[in-house]
């Protein structure tokens, strides 16, 4: 062995080849089967992708670096189930490019935040966290009240569709209009959003300012969608209880 190495370390391309070979094994063994073992991700029948408005909110969540402080992954540990709700399923982030599981909980997990608070609470909290939680150390995001830039929404859906997220041509074509319509429940487009994304999609003016489509509308719509894209996690936990 020693002798072998003694010779190897004289050949630079040999060393290069050996490093690549030795370093490749782990990744291949751990990653490739995640694509082939079926039980890794089982998409439930009721799973829907994010609406265009929620997707725009997700981009803002990424842009502002919320993931630096918030995880979106309830681990399979009793205390987490107790505090946050059902453990996260692989399917729940199957349409997330990239996933936002996070690595630090300076603030609480957000995987099940959808529906926990009202829109106006989120709005107040994001503009000034300490107005609702006096001891909060979360930064304030007052600038989120500015208008939402919707120029990329259609292309975003189209790109995600290419990556396998189930957005059909109809959804892509109407993406920009749907983003606006979701925040205007009384508008003509609202019905279309329901048709395309399901009856349970919340149609509301999320930021309480019906005249404007703001970044706040998008972020709050996104937060309210977390944990609600499929009921599978709650169903599995409930089955377990019986």
């Amino acid at each position: 062995m020693l002798k072998l190495h003694y010779n190897l370390e004289k050949i630079s391309m040999g060393l290069v080849g050996a490093i690549i070979a030795v370093a490749s094994v782990g990744g291949i063994v751990e990653i490739a089967p995640l694509f082939t073992i079926e039980e890794t991700v089982e998409i439930p029948a009721d799973m829907r992708p994010h609406t265009p408005l929620e997707l725009a909110g997700r981009e803002i969540y990424i842009r502002e670096g919320c993931y630096a402080c918030h995880s979106q992954m309830v681990r399979s540990l009793a205390d987490e189930l107790d505090r946050y709700g059902p453990y996260s399923l692989a399917a729940e982030s199957a349409y997330d490019h990239p996933m936002l599981w996070g690595s630090k909980r300076t603030g609480p997990d957000l995987a099940r935040i959808g529906g926990k608070y009202s829109d106006s609470w989120h709005m107040a909290h994001l503009i000034d966290p300490r107005s609702v939680i006096p001891v909060s150390i979360m930064p304030a995001y007052p600038w989120l009240t500015r208008a939402l830039d919707t120029r990329l929404i259609e292309d975003s859906l189209a790109t995600l569709a290419r990556l396998g997220v189930p957005y059909d041509a109809d959804m892509i074509e109407n993406a920009t209009a749907d983003a606006l319509a979701q925040s205007r429940p009384d508008s003509d487009g609202a019905e279309g959003v329901r048709d395309r994304y399901g009856e349970d999609v919340p149609l509301r003016d999320f930021d309480g300012d019906p005249d404007r489509l703001t970044e706040m509308d998008a972020v709050v719509a996104y937060l309210q969608s977390l944990g609600t894209l499929t009921g599978e996690a709650r169903r599995l936990m409930a089955e377990e209880d019986e």
């Binding site: 490749s24 453990y87 909980r105």
Partner: protein
């Protein structure tokens, strides 16, 4: 001692052509984007290209052709540039760290504009220190070590400049992108697709330069330091490419979607993230340790055989360990078991390298006592041992169930990065700067001693306070009272962190003060060197014909 003085007129012309290409690239980027971060980045490329055209063009007229003599010497001009950039990024990146630490204690201090918000500055800190500070230090020292241990001049004169300048353009794009809200959100791989592609170009050039220079070596055997630098270059390329595969939303938007999603994306991200630690923050710096420690101590490496074990152990085991970042998540259990067990086995080669380094100091302990520079390297080896032990411990599932998501991880991170990475870099810098600028010693030798104590105290305060923070946090999250109900609300755990966050800010502040002192000391040393001619030591044997 102008940077361009060792370039021939042909090289200056090729350099100008490349700079013009950079200007064109910038124009295309700006033109396609028309707005947003990508346009700003295009503008930066144009500006940088123009400056380079100007500098090289000026040199073409003003500066005499370098003497052929230079080919018998090492090429150190790009290395000097790399060291200066290391120092600049050290101060900028760590200042960002201290500011973030302060914000976690004092969030009201956040100015009300988007660019300075915590979430945007955090990657400025991580990329700034890992890539800016660590990366420049690695590239610069690797080129230095490569030449000395091969007794050969760098294979060509332009590519080291391309690598260093190109790499720093990448770092500046990264940091300014985050501030403008541009990020892919993948930790340690946040820059957008065009910056990622640019880095591939830089990295391929780096590899080619490395391997071509190595081919000219005078000693048949390749020294261990070069094994590590080479593993660093190769594996980082692999990781970077796979993890950053993405489709741009439109060509002009500077936004993209990662092609991976969900659980596969999580695994690939942490295969990348963990091995960014392994091959960026560990393998490369072990290369640095393997050169500067024996040279400074004037001792032979303690065991060649142990070097072999630790090198291949690290290259093999590390690549399996990434899933320890995903314990108890939706990642399948089987991958977690692999990550856990390989992390435990990884401890052996890790401690073998730390032990080899410390045993190398046998017979030189009096130097460790008297020479703060060598002491930096010794402490680095000790912290390397500590943080890898801690890492293997944290990788055990039940331990991770407590530590994951808490400040314990951040404490572990900084025992590695402050105690190991930064300390070994400072040791290397204090060895290199006098040599590269032709002086006997640093301008202020006493300041090195001060820096050492600031760094050690700062690290200890940082790490100890965050261990306390993390363990407290983890225990509070899972504490149950006798009635079988959770004892603490989340927000109570946030409140409990405040004293620790305050202490961490203090520790980080001390560490930053030390880094600042180092930068000033180096500046004084460089200025005192004045206008000396190139002082690079000569290769020991004649150059093979080109």
């Amino acid at each position: 001692m102008a940077m361009t003085s060792t370039l021939t007129s042909t090289e200056r012309q090729i350099g100008m052509a490349l700079s013009i290409l950079l200007v064109c690239l910038g124009l295309v980027m700006a033109g396609v984007a028309k707005q947003g971060p990508m346009m700003v980045h295009g503008g930066m490329a144009v500006a940088l290209g123009l400056v380079l055209v100007f500098v090289l063009g000026g040199a073409l007229y003003d500066q005499p052709e370098p003497s052929p003599e230079r080919l018998t010497q090492y090429d150190d001009a790009p290395i000097r540039f790399g060291i200066v950039m290391t120092l600049i990024w050290a101060v900028a990146g760590m200042a960002a760290g201290v500011w973030l630490a302060a914000l976690m204690y004092w969030p009201e201090a956040t100015p009300p504009w988007p660019a300075t918000s915590y979430g945007r500055l955090r990657p400025v800190h991580t990329s700034g220190v890992i890539f800016g500070f660590g990366g420049n230090a690695l590239i610069a020292t690797s080129l230095y070590v490569l030449q000395r241990t091969s007794r050969a001049r760098l294979a060509d004169a332009l590519s080291p400049w391309f690598v260093l300048i190109g790499f720093n353009l990448f770092c500046v794009w990264a940091a300014t992108g985050y501030v403008m809200g541009q990020t892919q959100s993948k930790e340690y791989a946040e820059p957008e697709w065009y910056a990622d592609l640019w880095l591939v170009l830089v990295w391929v050039t780096y590899f080619a330069l490395y391997i071509r220079t190595l081919a000219r070596r005078a000693e048949p055997h390749i020294y261990v330091a070069n094994w590590y630098y080479m593993a660093f270059i190769l594996v980082v390329a692999m990781l970077h490419i796979v993890n950053n595969l993405a489709i741009p939303v439109t060509w002009g938007a500077g936004e993209s979607f990662t092609i991976w999603s969900g659980v596969q994306d999580a695994m690939i991200q942490w295969w990348y993230g963990h091995n960014a630690v392994a091959f960026f923050l560990t393998a490369g710096f072990l290369g640095m340790l393997y050169y500067f420690l024996p040279v400074r101590a004037e001792r032979p490496i303690w065991s060649y055989r142990l070097s072999i074990l630790s090198f291949w152990g690290i290259v093999f085991f590390y690549m399996w360990a990434g899933s320890h970042h995903l314990h108890y998540t939706a990642l399948p259990y089987w991958v977690q078991t692999l990550g856990m067990t390989f992390s435990v086995m990884l401890l052996v080669p890790s401690w073998a390298s730390a032990g080899n380094a410390i045993a190398t100091l046998n017979g030189a302990w009096h130097k460790v006592r008297d020479d703060a520079t060598l002491r930096f390297m010794f402490v680095a080896a000790v912290f390397y041992g500590l943080s890898t032990f801690e890492g293997s411990f944290l990788a055990i599932r039940p331990v991770n169930s407590l530590s994951h998501y808490t400040d314990w991880t951040v404490g572990h991170v900084h025992s590695g990065t402050l105690g190991w990475v930064a300390m070994i870099v400072f040791g290397a810098i204090y060895s290199l700067v006098p040599k590269l600028w032709g002086r006997e010693d640093m301008a202020w030798p006493r300041a090195v001693e001060w820096h050492f104590w600031l760094a050690v105290t700062g690290t200890l305060i940082y790490v100890v306070s965050l261990w306390n923070a993390g363990i407290t946090q983890g225990l509070m999250w899972r504490a149950y009272d006798e009635g079988g109900a959770l004892s603490y609300s989340f927000i109570e755990s946030v409140e409990a962190m405040l004293p620790y966050y305050a202490a961490r800010t203090l520790g980080g502040g001390l560490f930053l003060a030390g880094a600042l002192l180092c930068a000033l000391n180096c500046r004084a040393t460089m200025c005192a060197a004045g206008d000396r001619v190139d002082v690079s030591d000569r290769p020991l044997v004649a150059q093979p014909a080109e």
